[in-house]
Symmetry: C2
DNA sequence: CGCTGGATTGACTCGGATCAAGTCGAGTGG
DNA sequence: CCACTCGACTTGATCCGAGTCAATCCAGCG
């Protein structure tokens, strides 16, 4: 079976066969989670490293006033929070979106891998840097982009990331994100998200419905988004 | 002379005298920068690790449409981008605000320290996690807080961070952040920032002018901000 | 078959942006 | 010492993007 975690790390930095073997062994016992299940909640003591093998999840925070902010989407191949065990408690929760297959690597094992497999460590660090870059782009979107640009930009980003691990086929992407979730991710109202999606549909750029994204006109979408993929850091340094 | 970098790391994880000696040696040749000087620009190849010893700086991004988004404020004791050398280019710039004293630690030396001084490595990782938490809080603010709450929340956060390294004396904090910078940080207009600051002044919570922040009524400010300092992770795990 | 949670649409409101003048203080040069 | 300038801060008037409130529609499902 495909191991998307390995695929993703390979995309970050070359891995040897021993590295791959170790990673496959570490993620050999995944667990199935139902939809909308918390993997970990805000305030919990951090546990093992999670690796999403199939399905989607998101990081989120609930504010005192009851509103929710989605901080990131996790897709197959993503892992989270390498050193998080150093902190006393989680500052946010992680929840599955649909049913998901998730492996856990406990801290001791992860530490061993990081020490004995420098190529894996390197790939993990690259992944962490990319996540940070994604957060910076997220902040930038929230602060300085109009709502339609924000939506278009997020779709570009998700599509690009999904393509990297072979999740997207052509212009199509299975994307199980409800309008409500999208609203909470982009700091908008579900009502307004709906109107923006209609605009994007009418402009011929893309269509999102019932869990699938179709990018009908990439050029238009990119133009609307003002999408600059620099922050995806696709060119990774060759030399160590 | 005080080394605020050491002070900050100490706050993250205990350091031995050898660790401190190594850090002081590594930051022994700082350079003075004038105000508004880029330490590094978006698109540049990442270089050494920067350590701010005195003065303030900020991370920022310029959008295609010419607007700016400030991503983070760096205060004395802050360092940036531990593993950034793994990426091909910067996805954002770093610029001084006022005159600043900045040390650089080149990658080879930093790698050596990380390998030979586990306590320092641990503190650096904790610092990185806290920075990530700060970014998550930033996103949350931008997405789900009103403008007055956003401003109040940022001030609480800056005050708390400054207090940790002994920068704030009582209710006062020297904070060289112009209203324009604040606007670009919080995704608002300078005009609106000005009105919000007036509101905060009139509410008796705080006053910000000419580079200094005075928190006249902490309770009110915290109430306005809905400030939950959990994400500051002040309680750090004792055990490794 | 009725329930339920998402998606959709319309009418209205409001927070914050935009546009346009000022004001104030620190230099700077005559 | 005063005039000039320049950048940062203030303030008012007006506009618009997005939120709010409220129905309605629709598909999946126990």
């Amino acid at each position: 079976m495909k191991n998307r975690f390995v695929d993703r790390l390979r995309g970050y930095s070359p891995l040897g066969t021993d590295d791959v073997t170790a990673l496959i062994a570490a993620t050999a016992r995944p667990r199935t989670y139902p939809a909308r299940r918390d993997l970990i909640r805000e305030g919990d003591r951090p546990g093992p490293v999670f690796v999403i093998l199939e399905g989607w999840a998101h990081r989120y925070k609930i504010l005192p006033n009851g509103t929710r902010q989605v901080l990131a989407f996790l897709m197959p191949g993503d892992s989270c929070d390498l050193h998080i065990g150093l902190l006393a408690e989680m500052d946010h929760g992680i929840q599955t979106i649909g049913p998901a297959l998730v492996a856990t690597i406990d801290r001791a094992e992860m530490d061993t891998i990081m020490e004995t497999r420098p190529a894996v460590a390197r790939a993990m660090y690259v992944g962490q840097l990319i996540d940070e870059g994604t957060m910076r782009a997220w902040i930038t979107s929230m602060g300085r982009r109009q709502s339609i640009e924000r939506v278009a930009h997020l779709m570009c980003k998700l599509y690009a990331r999904a393509t990297n691990i072979g999740l997207a086929s052509g212009t199509d992407l299975e994307l199980p994100i409800s309008q409500l979730l999208l609203a909470d991710a982009l700091g908008m109202t579900p009502v307004h998200i709906n109107r923006v999606l209609r605009k994007l549909r009418e402009s011929g750029a893309m269509t999102l419905n019932r869990g699938s994204l179709v990018i009908s006109d990439p050029a238009t979408l990119v133009r609307i988004a003002g999408f600059d993929e620099n922050y995806l850091h696709r060119r990774i340094r060759k030399a160590a």
